[in-house]
């Protein structure tokens, strides 16, 4: 495993780029980063001055500090310290289809997060509309159930919110509020069967150890329909990429809901409650609602739209080794590459365009680790004329959903999956 905290990585066309496109060098990025005083950070004067490494995301007020002061985490883009919101710098996705645990993005809602977890006393409680409530130790889970493993992308509902136009309030993420891991644990179905789901069960609700600072702040809980919860893929993970979960990613247990947005992947999972009526808690009934339209897309200001809880992910694809402003040589072949995923269905196809979408060519896809994970893609490209070129990539999935060519909009800033493009120059 290369040391992701090594030197800078530079994308194709950047003056610092060394090595072939496939093996870009062992160095690593701080694209657009420099070591400067914090006086510019947050658009603010020097009332909080200290040295910092800064990264400019590609939207207004997009300056972020690259921080290394979070436990079990390498260099991350800071969006909020408490409760932590940490974005994965995008160059990490060029290194591997599995996102290293120490670079995996972090998103918490409530600030009272346990810092000490004693595995000897920790219990996972299964209760509610069941024949017999069950309380399981971590060893019970590891030894008492058939292990289950799946590769799956965990993506924040609001990943890429910073690119919404018009902008919306919320976590101003670039594209790094996502990650792909190999999750190991137990099927939720098997755990529910240990307690015995009673007839009339409607939903299964998940709660973690985190709570709000104020007693009146709604506890963060999410629910799935009972049939979904019992589908044999929804699972409780006790390992991530073959290691224990970092605390900030949910140690010791988190929900894994393959193909669905990360809001359902409850961290520090402590309680699973079977409900015989719909969950009306704040986080299901009021938060994380999307317009019930294709791609959750409405016009800004549009009223009277029916909303539903956010659910299945849609396909996305990204460039990982080339950025806006790259300069390439005419007549010289470059390998452009990136990552893609299908959302709640496998990738069907990834297409590359070097002429702003007028024509498309299939790409070569890397190893398939399962339908819910990232796959790498690559395409050779030889600029035939000098001047600007617009490169684009788009994915479709086996359910017949393709990335749209116009960006969606909704007031929550959810579910962005427009076709990605980069503008480059050939000389």
């Amino acid at each position: 495993m290369r040391d992701l905290r090594g030197g800078p990585w530079f994308p194709i066309g950047h003056p610092g780029h060394r090595g072939t496109p496939f093996r870009p060098s062992r160095r690593r990025l701080l694209a657009h980063a420099g070591r400067i005083g914090l006086s510019g950070l947050l658009g603010a004067p020097a009332w909080n001055v200290r040295a910092a490494t800064l990264v400019e995301l590609r939207f207004a007020n997009g300056r972020r500090e690259l921080v290394t002061n979070f436990p079990q985490k390498g260099a991350m883009l800071l969006l909020r310290t408490r409760p932590a919101l940490l974005e994965t710098p995008f160059e990490v996705f060029d290194q591997s289809v599995f996102t290293p645990n120490d670079r995996f993005y972090v998103r918490w809602h409530l600030a009272d997060i346990p810092e000490v977890i004693d595995p000897g006393t920790f219990r996972l409680n299964i209760g509610g509309h069941v024949r017999q409530a069950v309380s399981l130790t971590l060893d019970d889970l590891v030894r008492g159930f058939e292990p289950f493993e799946i590769a799956a992308v965990n993506q924040c509902s609001g990943n890429s919110r910073g690119f919404f136009s018009p902008r919306v309030a919320g976590g101003q993420w670039s594209n790094g509020a996502m990650g792909n891991a190999r999750w190991t644990g137990v099927r939720l179905r098997d755990v529910l069967d240990r307690a015995g789901v009673k007839a009339g069960a409607l939903q299964v609700r998940f709660n973690g150890l985190d709570t709000g600072v104020l007693p009146q702040t709604p506890n963060f809980m999410k629910s799935l329909a009972v049939d979904h919860a019992r589908d044999g893929e929804v699972m409780i993970a006790y390992a991530m990429n073959g290691e224990r979960l970092p605390l900030l990613n949910g140690y010791p247990l988190r929900m894994v809901v393959p193909g669905w947005y990360a809001t359902y992947w409850v961290k520090m999972l402590s309680d699973v409650t079977v409900l015989d009526k719909p969950d009306d808690n704040y986080w299901m009934a009021k938060a994380y609602l999307i317009p019930d339209t294709p791609f959750a897309d409405i016009s800004p200001g549009q009223k009277g739209v029916r909303t539903v809880p956010i659910n299945r992910m849609v396909p996305r694809s990204f460039f990982s080794n080339i950025q806006d402003g790259a300069v390439l040589k005419t007549g010289q072949t470059t390998t452009v590459r990136g990552i893609a995923f299908g959302g709640d269905a496998g990738l069907k196809e990834v297409l590359f365009s070097s002429d702003a979408g007028s024509s498309w060519q299939p790409v070569r896809l890397g190893a398939d680790h399962g339908k819910y994970g990232f796959r790498q893609w690559e395409a050779p490209w030889r600029p035939s004329s000098q001047g600007p070129h617009k490169l684009m990539v788009k994915a479709s999935n086996t359910a017949g959903i393709a990335q749209p060519d116009h960006a969606n909009w909704n007031g929550g800033g959810y579910m962005r999956n427009v076709i990605e493009s980069v503008s480059v120059q050939a000389t």
């Binding site: 495993m1 290369r2 496939f22 093996r23 870009p24 947050l42 658009g43 004067p45 009332w47 909080n48 207004a60 007020n61 972020r64 002061n69 979070f70 436990p71 079990q72 800071l78 969006l79 909020r80 310290t81 408490r82 409760p83 932590a84 919101l85 290194q95 591997s96 599995f98 600030a111 997060i113 810092e115 000490v116 977890i117 595995p119 000897g120 060893d139 590891v142 292990p147 493993e149 590769a151 309030a169 976590g171 101003q172 891991a181 190999r182 190991t184 104020l214 009146q216 702040t217 709604p218 006790y238 390992a239 990429n241 073959g242 224990r244 605390l247 010791p252 190893a367 680790h369 790498q376």
Partner: protein, 132 residues
């Protein structure tokens, strides 16, 4: 990284085959695409540990305060109860009405203690430092 460690790779929940590749196949593969690194060098290692270690970490709390101005005292006293300041300062420029809506959501949905008569001064302050 001190809170967790060493036992993380201890045997036995499930055996995953190692990635030993016969030489001839390795040569054949080498003629195909060469990804930046083996896709699964890390992820397919040993199965996770059966034993667990006590987790004990310290989470940073955030040092940033709100920039000086009329209303900064309200922001520092109220907003920082539940969250650090950065995310407020990293919002897009919002109208005063949009800032008011954000503050009212903090009060009605999350139970912020901000008294009603401080909503307008706080919205004015936030609009002043990051408004449109």
């Amino acid at each position: 990284m001190s809170g967790i460690s060493a036992d993380a790779m201890n045997t036995n929940a499930r055996r995953i085959p190692s990635r030993t590749v016969p030489v001839a196949l390795a040569i054949a593969l080498a003629t195909g695409p060469v990804w930046p690194q083996s896709d699964d060098s890390k992820a397919s290692g040993a199965a996770p540990a059966r034993s667990w270690v006590k987790m004990n970490v310290e989470l940073p709390t955030g040092q940033v305060t709100f920039p000086p101005g009329n209303g900064a005292a309200i922001a520092n006293a109220q907003c920082l109860i539940c969250h650090s300041a950065e995310m407020v300062l990293l919002q897009p420029a919002l109208t005063q009405d949009e800032w008011t809506a954000v503050i009212n959501k903090m009060r009605s949905a999350f139970g912020a203690l901000l008294p009603p008569d401080q909503v307008e001064p706080l919205a004015g302050y936030l609009h002043g430092i990051n408004g449109r």
